[in-house]
Assembly symmetry: D2
Homo-oligomer: 449 residues x 4
């Protein structure tokens, strides 16, 4: 490494319960520690997002960027792009993560034509590949930015303009080739412009057919070049577009089923996007995993009182516990899944060290969630509670319902003379308040150990 | 008819533009007038909802019922139930609608057992059937109330308790039999308790499998008894339950596809439910019709600044225009579809005549929407705009994309050397502000004619 | 006590960290333990709400009550009302609280006239007063229910109908007299119907003047009879009414200032109401305390993804920590303030013991919040952070600004030639991510001690 | 004028009902036509916002600017700034408006110091002043942008850093001087950064005191230099900051009262900001006008299903009718008030002519609203309805309440023996459904005349 970018910051270590004041150490994330039969790092597979960590200037719709970054001295776009690779790999190493994620446009500036853009990009990718050899860093997923440039103003794969579809397809081709070069385990599609501003001027079905075509083309080409990535769709209900087609997990599953994509594609789910759709993060993960379509996770949190995507580093232990409970139930995030920090510092956390502090709270919060979820699992707390709650389906009329033996007539026969008192007696309080109290105790007791 | 219930109210007539002050006449709804090739009454097929119109006491979570109804003198539940049938058919006749909708429990009080409950119900249904013979009134749909009674506290088809599932199945059996007796054109399922209060204690997949089983049992039994109704699911995202499985149209479609219900079931969509899910009513209708799954419509409106279901009579001409535009595009609401007023007066509109005034604003607003949509269609306003917007897919590279001839390689070849200026030139302003202004003109000019 | 109502439940004890599984014991609430210089019970002053605990049937807009209560056998309204007093005082004793809160209509049924209603009420109050003598139970506050009865459909103090205003005033008079009899420390006004359904038919200013008149009459009459209660207004933005005048703390303060009520009235703040107004609970408490108008607190929590009032028992340790941090900063909730559980079980927690379990999670969560807030205060964690952040106002130009010495001209002189780099250097990262991580550590480490 | 910027666009004329298709003409706005005793242009006093019309590139958080503007060829910032003045005055003339609004930073680029920035700005202002002489264009209001630059990251007047407060004061001084030069009728403060990201590190009261100091300094200095503008605060609840202190009209009024600003300051209210605070635009205007604090209006609309500020051109006739009804009731927007289009095209309406089309829909929609409101006023429709609704306060016990003669005792005497039936009879249905229907008729019939 030529120059040290993140000065004054040493490799972040697991320090355990050293101090209530947070600092440059992990208190819950101990990568090699075995929890529920697997190393923490193998459950969590943390990835750093290039866009938010190295490119994000901390702008907002009413303000210019506040970020102070150690490579701000570079003014030539390609010099800057190459310097950022050095900074990035130093960052990965100091933070202690094994995975990165990126959009094509995160890495290098655009030229006037795609050919020129690809050439810029290839230089940066070459440098990344070199770093991968020495560092062992892996790519959790890469993706293609088809939303920032004005040409995508009305969509990429769903643009009303065939030339823009064609361009998107061409851009995607190169992005898949890059995925192969860097060995991406997954390939993500986030359709920030794939939706509508108004239904009055939109052929929704035609647009969705186009999107599906593009996804099929992508999978076909990946197969052709031997790029063995798990394809993932990332839902978000709105922002920037008034309505995005991949609204939430269930909507995206309907789309995948309609267009025969559910064999080759899975979902990449984000906490803040869940909230914007009116859901908890846990809900989205549950929907995906019960459909067998949980692919990977974007780790961040929203503010439920705020109506836009803030992509905050996760710190809420209730949410990380719930997410990791779903993961523990699932055995893993998924064969190729990881936790990518699609998260950025607040605009007022503009110092270089805030990038470390932000990842630390995020990693520690998910590590904590894993510990708590594993403890609840080990004790059978929720398993017992649910086994008990649904036990009536294990015998008698319940078993007949499960097995398909029952029909309306047999069930009428069973129920028609039951008095109300007996029906009420068949229901049970779920004691939800006690459950919430118990979860509080699990959080405190597990993490303080 | 023994007694006049709605005193002082004559049959509501089409009066045209008589007065700005609304009153007991239709200014836009002229049932026999032909619009876009069909009589207004055949486009709209208005239905009166028994629950909100005749049973609703105008309670809210902080207040007792304020409704003043002409049959309030009846204290015996069966007397009241039978009197309401008289009042209802007088109401239908005076309002000039051809369809009614009802839940089983709207009609008659429960007994201690289902057998007793069915007996009560059968008496009321017999009276309805008699009225149908003389009045020609048809049933747009009937349904089963499986959410009010405490036994359904944790669900009906998705209850964790097999006895409750069994009871629900038995109740449903009788409800289907009633549907056959009254000749319902559709049969609706609204799953107000089919969801979860908390994911911590919920086997979501098991519950959804149970729901699907119940739907299949229903369809099988309907077939068995020759009850030829279109089966419909009505989405709502939440309320009363924290999360309901039939969150919105797309989610429900995913469920129908997963459980092989999309051949026999379609959707019944409601405006207020759309809003609670973060959607416009138009969006939900579009999603359903493009999937070929638009069944019927619940006509009401929500207040987007309010987070619960207010089921207000529709009055917003933008919303009724948008809904009817989708219907005109679709050729009809659907072969069996109609517009059911799942709507109630505000708690402060507690007088008997408010039930007429509420239906009048609702019917006139949808009639107005039909007129405006038909005028836009006749002029080709939006058709031309969309044809132009998507025209690049009709030839050249666009046609290759549509036909499946293109792939990533051919499209890269096409796009790789296009300069940014050419790509930008391929996109066009959609002049959305002008579109909105034009819609204002259509509303004013069409309705003032 | 004649009969034991809450069978199988002994007096709830502080058990400390006995078990992760919650049960009938407090793990954090140790009433006599001194935290930050005061006994826990004196910081917290927990009160049980009569309406939710003893009257609430767990209805919702789509469902009948599910509650199972030990006094359900009573059918005569007055017998039931009197039995509930026995049950209530047994409950207070077993739970270990010192305060109750009630609406007039919680206690006894209405008669046809206010005179009859008052007579019913007086019998129940007499029994409460007797119990107070032996139990030492105090009344944190009482209030008048002027929203449930249909007569209040369009408001009580803001009703467009003078007779309803008059009735409300008369009802209030008796309620104040009861307050004096039971020694209420505060008197609360929640204006659930004091707002509008539509602005088109509302004289908002006239209605607000009427409300102010009623509050002044109340204070005058309280003075006259020597009822020395702190008067409190409780904000809520909407539900049941489309818009309620006491929208949030700041709006209510504006109203109090406009109508000269800010000397005699303070605020009673509720967590769920804060959320419905788009605020955190902490925000509302901060607004009130910095205005010197924090009176008392309603302890509950909302679900930010749900748009109506769920009045859930508090369990979120982030929220209770934030609320108690404001209280610790304030020195107390207020001289007369307490934490009233305006909270009810979920409809699925319908068993009698859920009332205990719900209060336990609520009391323990606030006790935990107090412990964490006190620990942060003792360490000076946030005090130091803020002292540092605002330190530039303690000398130089900052001190001139504070003291009023600076004006636009002197500040122009100071700033006009400062380069951007110097201005940027004057701002500092607030490291919010680190702050959130530290708060996590405080929660875990403080509670596990 | 040296060069024509808005080629192909002639002066926009009133064309009346020419065509349903909107185009480059006004169908409702006829500036010299007298409505309700005043010329339309005098009721409406439309202003064009410099920032959205001439500076806005149509970026969003996920996309670069799409705007195509006729002065895009200028690359030197000062050349561009000066060219935009030419383009702006050509635009005003062609559109036919009499007022403009601007932030200081809209006009000219910043230098490294405020002195340099002021010098840039003064050149552009000189050019504007020249144009004013020949065009008669007036400035409705100017303001100071104290939110875009990174120095304002944690606030301007409420910054924790005294140097930033000092800089803000200095910037404001110059902005007031410019206001005087251009003859601004009002001066606006929008506090986009005046709020908090987190309460944990915020001294809210100290920050609000600082804000109040800055407002007082501004008023004092304006008096000193003889700048006779009405000072205005513009509320917005959030975005960009998590919470902004000027949350809504009522909150800002509380602040103004607390800090003795309500004599010299009024409110500038925006529709989209109202929605973000959970209010209708009409509500905010009503609150301000009943407090005597309505200053001016920002004309735009939000999408209630979207949680961020979209600043759409107004097109919803319900909203413009409601806003103009409040204005007609008030006699005017206010002595200095006008309708400033704080509105921008959608990102997909990127063509130059969309700026005209957007203003046309906005101006026509408010002109329509004025026509409808005036017609309702002329007929006494709502006046009669309200006079009737509140008539019980004009005599008897109602008059005693109004006059202050009544107290709790006299009212108890009046009400204590009234039976429930009499109380219910004293309330009346407000027939809200009929009111909404009538408003539909007013819109259609008034606009089609
Ligand atoms: Co993401
Ligand atoms: Co996001
Ligand atoms: Co509904
Ligand atoms: Co419905
Ligand atoms: Co509440
Ligand atoms: Co409360
Ligand atoms: Co705005
Ligand atoms: Co504005």
């Amino acid at each position: 490494m030529t120059e040290e970018y993140w000065k004054g910051i040493d490799k972040i270590q697991y320090v355990g319960h050293q101090d209530k004041k947070s600092g440059l150490g992990f208190q819950y994330y101990n990568p090699e520690e075995v929890i529920a039969g697997k190393k923490m790092k193998d459950w969590l597979r943390f990835a750093v997002a290039y866009w938010h960590t190295f490119d994000q200037r901390l702008v907002d719709p009413f303000g210019d960027g506040t970020a102070q970054r150690p490579y701000d001295k570079y003014t030539d776009p390609m010099d800057l792009a190459l310097a950022k690779v050095d900074a990035a790999f130093e960052f990965y190493n100091k933070l202690g993560v094994d995975y990165l994620c990126f959009h094509d446009r995160d890495l290098a500036p655009e030229g006037d034509t795609l050919r020129e853009t690809n050439a810029n990009l290839d230089k940066v990718v070459a440098k990344i590949v070199e770093y991968q050899k020495t560092s062992g860093m892996k790519v959790l997923w890469n993706t293609s930015n088809m939303f920032t440039n004005p040409r995508f103003v009305e969509g990429a794969g769903t643009s009303p303009y065939a030339d823009i579809f064609a361009y998107s397809a061409a851009q995607l081709k190169h992005s898949l080739e890059i995925g192969k070069r860097v060995g991406s385990e997954n390939y993500v599609f986030w359709g920030g412009r794939e939706g509508y501003e108004s239904l009055w001027n939109t052929n929704m079905k035609q647009e969705q057919e186009h999107a599906a075509k593009l996804f099929h083309m992508a999978k076909d080409y990946a197969n052709e070049i031997g790029f063995d990535a798990q394809m993932l769709l990332e839902p978000k209900p709105k922002e920037p577009t008034t309505h995005q087609y991949d609204f939430d997990a269930a909507t995206t599953i309907a789309f995948m089923k309609e267009y025969d994509l559910d064999k080759d594609f899975k979902l990449n789910l984000e906490g803040n996007h869940a909230n914007l759709a009116g859901h908890t993060y846990q809900h989205e993960i549950r929907v995906a995993r019960e459909a067998g379509l949980l692919g990977s996770l974007d780790a961040n949190q929203g503010d439920k009182l705020i109506g836009w995507d803030i992509d905050e580093y996760p710190s809420n232990l209730y949410e990380t516990t719930a997410a990791m409970y779903e993961v523990v139930e699932n055995g893993s995030i998924g064969p190729r899944g990881g936790l990518n920090f699609d998260a950025k510092p607040r605009r007022s956390s503009f110092a270089p060290e805030d990038l470390f502090l932000g990842h630390i709270v995020g990693m520690d919060s998910f590590a904590a969630g894993l510990r708590v979820a594993a403890a609840m699992k080990a004790d059978g707390f929720l398993d017992n509670l649910k086994a008990d709650r649904y036990s009536s389906y294990e015998s008698g009329v319940g078993a007949d319902i499960e097995s398909g033996k029952a029909d309306l007539k047999s069930l009428e026969n069973y129920a028609i003379d039951k008095p109300q008192s007996e029906l009420i007696a068949a229901t049970h309080s779920d004691h939800l308040e006690e459950v919430k109290d118990t979860i509080n105790h699990y959080i405190v007791e597990t993490l303080s150990k």
